[in-house]
Amino acid sequence: MPAIFLVALLTALLYAGPADAQAPAIDAARMEAAVKRSWTQASPEWQARLGQDETMVVCSEHRNSPPPAVADAILARERASIKYPADGKLMGDWKKGQKLAQSGYGGRFTDYPPRTENGGNCYACHQLSSNELSFGTLGPSLLEYGKIRKFSDADVKAVYDRIYNPQAAVACASMPRLGAGGHLSIEQIKDLVAYVMSPDSPVNK
């Protein structure tokens, strides 16, 4: 037998490995059945949250590294979800945006009936103003984000899009689709854009 076949055979055997070294794949329908059976006490309204849209399905399946064709389909689909303010103004009030960036309120099962508006919870994952030291690191630092980009209009729009639906720019991005998912309103997103992009915002001081 040529050596190359022997190598191939050995490689295949090694990769197959012992049966319990690697978990077998699970059928997606099997997983969804388990999900359905595990939230029996939730109300029908809450059970609606158990489903996945197409983007969630493929991002889960590919563990957030979709092949190029799948990624392109996600980008196109998510881009189409973005809605803009009627007057075309993408920047609101950075002071309101600052409050939203600090607040993690909204959407949890202890948040009903709502006691205040939903927050953006930006600081959970991002550094923004140098005055706030309690920031997370799951997302990139946005310190001086607007200043570094010379406050350009193109970047104002890019930030609006990124908050409204980050998966329009990066397929399977970790960040929530805050506008497309209905967690934040257009007005709130404008305030957050101002917090990131306004020359007056502490993010850019």
Binding site: A23, Q41, R49, S60, R63, F109, T110, L133, S134, G181
Partner: protein, 282 residues
């Protein structure tokens, strides 16, 4: 350590944690969190020398009482409950959970098995046990939690050793792994969003990299654990329920397939890690 010394140390840990939670002042937050982490780590070391200084030991004690006392409509103790190593064997059972149980024909973790035994042996109403199974902040853990804490403590010092012989155990592991990466809810979150990378944090809270064996081994064996910020013992299922809360998902049923499968995945990743239950968490 004297009981007075223990109390004083305990108060200082609480004060630091409160200071950490309350502070938003520039310059103080990181220092406070470093200090509180250091203090909690010092406390953890002392727990090894004097395990009774962990408030969770009260639930170990209570759980043992609940296990051995005749209770429920059938006025029976749980001493005939089979946790996987034969009826009544508690020592070492937790180290091999979750596992397949032929009588129930499914994979169960400690909490699911406790509910099974409370229903079958003691005659408790299953639906009533599952209705509000977790305590609110500041309230003591419920009976299921105390029993799980006792059972876990009886495997203290052993290594997490999932057996994975039965096909349904292997299926639970595969399901748990897939669920770990399953994105869902209004925020598109998966477990992996926060727990599949090194050295990340939410605000100042460090996040364990749970799909990496070396990291999982350090933390998975700590559960059930006394959680300082909520002043009670949380079981692994309660901790997972709390993650789903943050993920904006509905309240997951105790003992159901999803938390059991996720626990199976975590235990498998953390295989060989030492059980140090009940642990102590922020």
């Amino acid at each position: 350590m004297s009981s007075a010394g223990r109390a004083a140390l305990w108060l200082s840990v609480c004060a630091l944690v409160v200071a950490f939670a309350a502070t938003r002042a520039p310059g103080l937050a990181q220092d406070a969190t470093d200090a509180s982490e250091k203090e909690i780590e010092r406390y953890r070391q002392m727990l090894k020398a004097d395990p009774w200084s962990n408030p969770a030991m009260l639930d170990v004690d209570r759980g043992e009482g609940l296990w051995k006392t005749p209770r429920g409509p059938k006025a029976t103790s749980l001493e005939a409950c089979d946790l996987g190593k034969g009826p009544g064997v508690v020592k070492g059972a937790f180290a091999e959970l979750p596992r397949y149980f032929a009588d129930a024909d499914r994979v169960m973790d400690a909490e699911a098995r406790i509910v099974w035994c409370m229903e079958k042996l003691q005659g408790f109403d299953r639906a009533a046990l599952l209705k509000k199974p977790y305590p609110g902040g500041g309230r003591a853990t419920k009976d299921i939690g105390a029993l799980a804490t006792y059972i876990a403590h009886e495997s203290n010092g052993l290594k997490l050793s999932p057996t994975l012989h039965h096909p349904k155990e292997k299926e639970a592991l595969a399901l748990g792994e897939a669920l770990f990466f399953r994105r869902g809810g209004p925020m598109d979150f998966a477990c992996a969003t926060c727990h599949a990378d090194q050295g990340k944090r939410i605000r100042l809270q460090g996040l364990p990299f749970l799909s990496k064996p070396a990291e999982a081994r350090k933390v998975v064996g700590d559960w059930p654990a006394y959680r300082v910020s909520s002043s009670h013992v949380m079981t692994m299922e309660h901790r997972i329920y709390d993650c789903f809360w943050q993920m904006r998902m509905p309240e997951v049923d105790l003992g159901s397939e999803v938390p059991v499968a996720l626990t199976m995945y975590l235990i498998k990743v953390a295989e060989g890690g030492e059980i140090n239950a009940p642990g102590l968490k922020r």
